[in-house]
């Protein structure tokens, strides 16, 4: 187990190395003269402490632009490994600082929608599987399919249209009301929570379908297994069959999959946060991407690549942990 974990970790680091290299090449080939423009802009910004030439030298040195693609990559990698991610060009603060400012909003959003997703999708999936080919089953299947097929921006736009424009319950976007500063600490919390409602619904709607189908498929597989038939044959009450024999076994793939998505809660919802102007890491990175803020993008992409690899690793390890039949090698 330990040996396997170590092996996987080494592999992950290797993959990460190449992933970041591909991204670095992409960044390196940003339109020519970009660093010059950026340096000029930074130098002319109000409160700029460095001159144009200083910024240019600084930027070139920081990102190893003067050393070619491969050389530059190792400069960046060396800095990154030492935890020196540089200053964000858009947010004008250290990248890690901006990360710290935003990631917790994203995590809150992701975590709550994750809870809702589990609470809604798993019971529905199990019900659908229990009553295969019934109306409930078809209904659930169709709903799941519709949820999977809806573009995020359309869900968001419909929600905005219904709840903001027509009913006027929520603000169109943003995460604070206009009287935010006058509120008490608890009032502020409620205000932000109110602004999180629509993004939460959006995230839940678009993620619910996949989990529902996954649950249904796995539950059906378990229900068709021999030991369920045996349990029924020996007269175990149906509720006990479902809740104990079937659900516990359905749990194995579910835990594996959900465990794998846990790191993803930190990665932020790029599109949803952007559409609702939630100052989470997704929105911050979207802004950085459209304005070619290289330090922040490199950091963010490295971050989500690590999260993806971590997710895969966790899911594999969990698989072995919850299912004693599986032996990792």
């Amino acid at each position: 187990m330990l040996k396997y974990t170590v092996k996987r970790l080494v592999y992950s680091v290797l993959i990460l190395f190449f992933v970041m290299f591909i991204i670095y090449v992409l960044m390196y080939n940003m339109p020519s003269g970009y660093v010059e423009t950026k340096a000029r802009e930074l130098a002319s910004r109000p409160g700029a402490t460095k001159s144009y030439a200083e910024w240019l030298a600084d930027l070139n040195a920081q990102y190893g632009m003067d050393k070619g693609v491969v050389g530059g990559y190792f400069v960046w990698l060396g800095n990154a490994v030492r935890g020196n991610w540089g200053d964000s060009w858009v947010w004008t603060i250290p990248v890690t600082q901006e990360f710290h400012n935003t990631v917790w909003y994203s995590f809150a959003l992701g975590f709550v929608s994750f809870i809702f997703e589990i609470l809604i999708a798993i019971p529905l999936g199990i019900t659908a599987a229990r009553k295969q080919y019934s109306f409930t089953d078809y209904f659930t299947t169709v709903v799941a399919m519709v949820c999977i097929s809806m573009p995020t921006f359309f869900v968001a736009t419909v929600l905005k249209y219904v709840f903001s424009v027509k009913l006027g319950w929520f603000d169109l976007s943003g995460m604070q009301g206009r009287d935010y500063m006058t509120l008490t600490q608890f009032g502020k919390f409620l205000d932000v929570a109110k602004h999180f409602v629509m993004p939460l619904i959006t995230l839940t709607i678009i993620s619910i379908g996949g989990l529902m189908r996954y649950t249904r498929t796995n539950m059906l597989e378990v229900l068709n297994a021999d030991y369920i038939r045996t349990a029924r044959a020996k007269g175990v009450p149906e509720r006990k069959v479902i809740n104990k024999h079937a659900f516990r076994n359905t749990f194995i793939p579910l835990v594996t999959m959900l465990g794998g998505t846990l790191p993803g809660l930190f990665s932020g919802a790029l599109i949803t946060e952007t559409l609702f102007s939630i100052r989470g890491i997704g929105y911050a990175s979207y802004t950085s991407m459209t304005q070619a803020d290289i330090p922040f993008i490199m950091f963010y992409l490295a971050f989500i690549s690590i999260l993806t690899l971590l997710g895969n690793l966790i899911s594999d390890l969990l698989y072995a942990a919850v299912d004693p039949r599986v032996r990792l090698s």
Binding site: V19, S149, Y161, L270, Y286, L301, L309
Partner: protein, 683 residues
């Protein structure tokens, strides 16, 4: 071995059986009519059409393709066709303004006016208006000018050469510099007899400076540079520069100074008195020549569009001095005052034009309004100005317009008139703006659904239905191309990896891991932003986007293909291909790949929906396909602001539903195909 069709064989046997046992009506259990063997393809098809959701999906997809690819052939509008319409709108029709600025007109054959004087003429005239003077003298650099009021709002400027006559009042005037070296006065402004001797005496007494008296005039001298002294004389009373003039002149000068005038007339000659501190300098303007006439009156002809020459205008303005007859352009004219206006009639006595301080123009500055309308608007504006109302309205017959915004003409060529309400409102700057309803030609923006435009028009005047059709083409095409690309790459890489195993497998699978880990959405956004920065053509963007999506999506297909091949490789028929020595290429692509076709088709169908979603999201964010090329995402993006979302739901709701339906249909079909290919896996 040739292909062996069981159905054919059974049919042949049936025919033979019927021939031998005709007449026997009983049906046996193993009768051919009871058993029908289907080919694998037909079995799949049969299972597929039994799935209601899959059939629904297929029907939707067929409709969608017909709509997107055949629709534009039959639909009369293009995706970039802009629609216009004629619409009655409340427009700024005209403007009524009381002129306050004076414009100068050159008198033919007259003198020129220096630019500095010309520039300050407006303030000079306003000064005259407030002091009530009839004439005013202005000294320029080389000429002196007399501005004379001819009539209300009309001023004539004449110019002349000048010479200094005298100075008057108490003050100081510079005499010159006395040089100790030359012992004489240099730069003398005025010759005074005995001054040199007097100053020598004074310097002997006090070398630093002081005063001395000569002929009743006090002189002050002070030490300048290089052994010289500046001499100034204290002026007191009247001092002539040249020869003295008689007492009548002095009385006139006194009178002018007492009334604080800038000049006076004496003995048929004009004198200008320029104040300098407490003293005056008096200039003689020998011969005044008329130069320019300044006025705030504008010409308004009775007949619309008549041109009035400057010559006639100037002659009329000059004639305002005494009124009555005048000649211009070889014709006789008559001018008469009426309220604030002057009315000019021609030789036959019919009214020709009017000089008025009120300028009534169309809003764009054209002088194309009728005289009667101008008059009515002026009167209303004056009434409003006196009553202090900021808004008001009059009704006047304006030329009638047809639905296409042209003027309606009778058979005899005259215009039709129609009573129109003209609304006047005063701006803070004083002028009155006239608004009225006119039919004008505008881009048909955000037109609600109608018979002409079934889904209305969007913010650029494009037909929404046409945009949706062409947008569907792009979206579906992107889906196909991307899925084809990723399947193509995936099959080759996965096939190589699965078939060869070993280090090839190792290498390709690590590559797959890397591409699996690449965050595709951020990379697409970065690519979009990059292409924005390079201002790429929208068609090239489309190609690059498709290529990027394909390259980023092949890893999943490769994994699937490899997995399938690993299991298939161990089966007997693969061993047989090896034993019969079939080439590797044929083994992979003729024997392995056809066996993984079902999974590939399912994967591709499902992938199509995903690609359409990604593409529309990117286009919605403005980072994919760009205006004016339509895709479903860009159409929604164009109405995503809060107000557009509220008012133009007829644009974005159909498009959003189309995206949903298409993606759902692809997913249903994919699901149905999977179940049909592999009924054992059906859950």
């Amino acid at each position: 071995m040739n292909s062996y069709n069981l159905n054919e064989v059974l049919k042949a046997r049936e025919a033979a059986g019927q021939k031998s046992a005709s007449g026997d009506g009983s049906v046996k259990l193993d009768d051919i009519s009871r058993v029908k063997v289907l080919s694998p393809g037909r079995q799949v098809f049969k299972r597929f059409i039994r799935n209601r959701l899959a059939v629904f999906g297929s029907v939707m997809l067929i409709l969608m393709f017909m709509f997107s690819f055949l629709g534009p052939l039959f639909y009369p509008y293009g995706q970039k066709q802009i629609f216009y319409k004629y619409e009655p709108r409340n427009i700024d029709y005209g403007m009524v303004k009381e002129n306050t600025a004076y414009t100068g007109y050159d008198i033919e054959g007259g003198a020129a006016v220096e630019r500095t004087v010309n520039n300050k003429m407006n303030s000079i005239i306003k000064g005259m208006l407030s002091s009530g003077e009839q004439a005013l003298f202005v000294m320029g650099e080389g000429q002196g000018y007399r501005v004379e009021k001819l009539a209300n709002d009309v001023y004539l400027t004449s110019s002349s050469a000048f010479e200094e006559v005298c100075s008057y009042g108490s003050g100081e005037s510079v005499i010159g510099t006395y040089s100790m070296v030359g012992k004489k006065i240099e730069n003398a402004k005025k010759q005074v007899e005995g001054l040199e001797a007097a100053i020598q005496d004074a310097i002997k007494q006090d070398a630093k400076g002081g005063t001395f008296e000569l002929d009743g005039v006090m002189y002050t001298y002070s030490r300048g540079k290089a052994k010289s002294y500046e001499i100034t004389a204290s002026i007191d009373g009247l001092q002539y520069m040249g020869e003295a003039l008689d007492e009548g002149f002095e009385a006139a000068l006194d009178g002018a100074i007492a009334s604080d005038a800038s000049g006076f007339e004496y003995g048929g000659t004009s004198y200008a008195a320029v104040k300098n501190g407490d003293s005056w300098l008096v200039y003689r303007l020998s011969e005044l020549v008329p130069a320019r006439v300044y006025t705030r009156l504008t010409v308004s002809t009775y007949e619309v569009g008549k041109k009035v020459s400057t010559q006639l205008n100037v002659a009329a303005l000059l004639a305002t001095a005494q009124g009555g007859d005048f000649e211009a352009e070889g014709q006789k004219w008559h001018i008469e005052r009426k309220d604030a206006e002057w009315i000019v009639t021609d030789a036959s006595g019919s009214e020709f034009m009017e000089l008025t301080p009120y300028a009534v123009r169309r809003y764009n500055g054209d002088d194309t309004m009728e005289y009667g309308l101008k008059k009515a608007l002026t009167e209303k504006a004056l009434e409003m100005a006196s009553s202090g109302d900021k808004t008001g309205s009059i009704t006047y017959a304006l030329p009638m317009q047809t639905e296409t915004g042209e003027y309606m003409v009778n058979e005899d060529g005259s215009l039709n008139y129609q009573d129109t309400e003209l609304k006047l409102s005063q701006r803070d700057t004083g002028e009155f703006v006239v608004n009225c309803q006119q039919i004008i030609y505008v881009i048909n923006m955000f037109d609600a659904p109608s018979g002409e435009h079934l889904l209305g028009t969007d913010g650029d005047g494009f037909d929404v239905l046409a945009r949706i059709m062409y947008g569907g083409r792009v979206s579906l095409m992107v889906g196909f191309v991307v899925v084809f690309l990723e399947t193509f790459l995936g099959v080759i890489m996965g096939g190589l990896s699965g078939y060869y195993g070993g280090w090839v497998d190792m290498l390709i699978m690590r590559l797959v891991d890397i591409f699996y880990c690449l965050p595709s959405m951020p990379i697409m956004i970065i690519l979009g932003a990059m292409m924005d920065a390079l201002r790429m053509d929208t068609y090239i963007r489309l190609l690059i986007m498709m290529a990027a999506l394909g390259i980023m999506g092949w890893a999943g297909v490769a994994r699937l293909v490899r997995g399938q091949i690993l299991t298939l490789r161990e089966q007997e028929f693969m061993v047989a291909t090896e034993a019969t020595g079939i080439r590797v290429k044929d083994r992979i692509f003729h024997h392995l790949v056809p066996n993984i076709m079902p999974q590939l088709i399912v994967q591709a169908t499902m992938g199509m929906g995903g690609v359409i979603l990604t593409e529309s999201t990117l286009s919605f964010l403005g980072l994919g396909v760009k205006h004016p090329l339509a895709t479903w995402g860009t159409i929604i993006n164009s109405v995503s602001s809060a107000s557009a979302m509220q008012h133009y739901a007829f644009i974005w709701i159909p498009v959003g539903l189309l995206i949903c339906i298409t993606v759902i249909a692809f997913n249903f079909v994919g699901d149905g195909l999977r179940d049909a290919y592999d009924p054992k896996a059906k859950r």
